[in-house]
Symmetry: C2
Amino acid sequence: MEERVQISILLDLYGDLLTDKQRSIMDLYFNDDLSLAEISEHTNTSRQAIFDLIKRCQKQLIEYENKLRLMEKNSQSESYKEIILNNIELLKAKVDNECLSFVEEIKRLVLEL
Amino acid sequence: MEERVQISILLDLYGDLLTDKQRSIMDLYFNDDLSLAEISEHTNTSRQAIFDLIKRCQKQLIEYENKLRLMEKNSQSESYKEIILNNIELLKAKVDNECLSFVEEIKRLVLEL
């Protein structure tokens, strides 16, 4: 996975563990795609301080993932859900109307997981 | 939910974010059900220091839950899974052998989620 995409996912999973200021600057850089110079101007902070903060937070987010593994677990769950949904579609084509309502309910709930 | 049970679940979810020493003492108190006096003797640390550490870690675990809400999300997922599995059992009683293999595969994967 591209590092930028990975950090953006980790930010979504663990961003609430950062301070508001850290979270906001990480959002500007990784989600809004602003440059260091733009963030520096926008926040009235030196380019070097922004660079250091981003590097520090990146390291922190990776440490959270190494400990809690939420990205890894989510990715595995999504793979399972995809196979479940494929099986549900195959099943829908084969069952009668009475069974179809159970299958539709299962599908609805799997999508909520 | 009883506080002791709640802390034990939070310890399972967020314990890796504590230090090894904190994790170990929290385990002795909440999972192995040792008293403060027993942990104090076991770790060669004052009873007051153990008490303070436990209170501090409890607060920390609750803060993690307030930010990441893993316990809340897990509990909701478990409720959904229970209804899915009930629907699967109802469906199993109604479908023919060909469909049954799809239903069994769906059940197997839901249990992996």
